[in-house]
Amino acid sequence: MDFTFLSDTIARLLPAIPTTLALAGTSVAIGMVLALLLALLRLSSRVAAIVVRLYVFVFRGSPLLVQIFLIYYGLGQFAAVRDSWLWPFLRKPWWCAVLALALNTAAYGSEIIRGGLTSVPLGSIEAGRAAGMSRFTLYRRIILPLALRQALPAYGSEIIIMVKSTSIASIITLMELTGVARQIVSESFRAVEVFLCAGLIYLAINFLLTRAVSLLERSLNPHLRGANT
């Protein structure tokens, strides 16, 4: 075991963590807003439901790598895209990765949120209506908090999947954790040690995320806690 090499590798990988976290954080945040909109749309009207189902089908049924390639390499095929104000963004691997990750997680997330929304007991909604709540207040005070509580565990796993998925962005030259690890391998030819160090960092991030989600779950479910715990 060459501990100086291992500690050097870890020291070089650490500065890439913010990139990985920013990539995951941005796309999860955008994806969550999209997911909520999609879930509400799907429950609103028949036509909207069909469109949303098609969206979910396409993004859940094809690999994320193909979606990233489609956006990064594919969109530049059209002159209209190249001439538009969006091109400065869509040329950049960063925004292409964020866009692909966000659209992808929105598809999975919308199904999770839909599950949460449909699990809200009808009685609670009726009680809210009987108390004279408007539609907006009903959503804010009753439906969304209950749905969030129901959806949180599944959404937590989705966030962890997103952290892992950010590694795919290294294929379109983004220098996040996996990208930096590949660079170190190409200089040192010591693949196993370097990739194991990178894996260790991913594990640590995901462990902390799991803990954070379960703490949040606990604080959202005070009624499930025993009297003396």
Binding site: F57, V58, V66, L196
Partner: protein, 237 residues
Amino acid sequence: MSSYFTLIGFGPTGWGWQLVAATLMTLAVSAAAFVTGAVFGVLGAWAKLSGGRAVRGAADAYTTVLRGIPDLLVIYLFYFGGSALMTSIGKMMGSQGFLGLNGFLVGMLAIGTVSGAYQTEVMRAAFLAIPRGEIEAARAVGMGRALMLRRIIAPRALRFALPGLGNVWQQVLKESALISVTGMLELVRQIHLAAGSSRLPFDFYATGAALFLLLTTLTGLLFRGAEQRTQRHERQG
């Protein structure tokens, strides 16, 4: 539009046959990885359910680690790690230089190892879902362990495991896209090459996505059919 169909068609200038071959290759490597994962899954579930403390700990470490790191990293680890191992073995045998590994083998083992971690959990849960009374009944009629496994435990566990296994299969099929980083000629690699040489990346990547949708949908139907078959004796609500 007609030029698009010439491009992906089976004519002399079309990529049709290459796309069909690559799609079949994706299916083959996914199936091999899924079966490899099933072997790991059975071993892992068995270790978690009836192993001693050390065996259980090893199985827990396996499922925790493999589900916590990116699949791409696992593929790199197998690809570069395997090649390094082969090269050093080659040196001992007297050959010079770098020995690469077969992409199919790397993909099968790497994705198999990852999916094995998920299949471990699916199979463990499926075993625990078997009503204890059925196992007691089998013991009561004097079945041996092997007979009980074959007649009672395996078929019953399969019924509870199939929905979860179907999900893992979909995951494996989509992860197989990552094997393209090893240069193996599966669907994504082929699409990538065709997109580059035709200079029509959008057309080809969209075609690739459509072919994946076809694969996930058709195999999803197969799993649904299998699920219904294993549930055919149950009362439907």
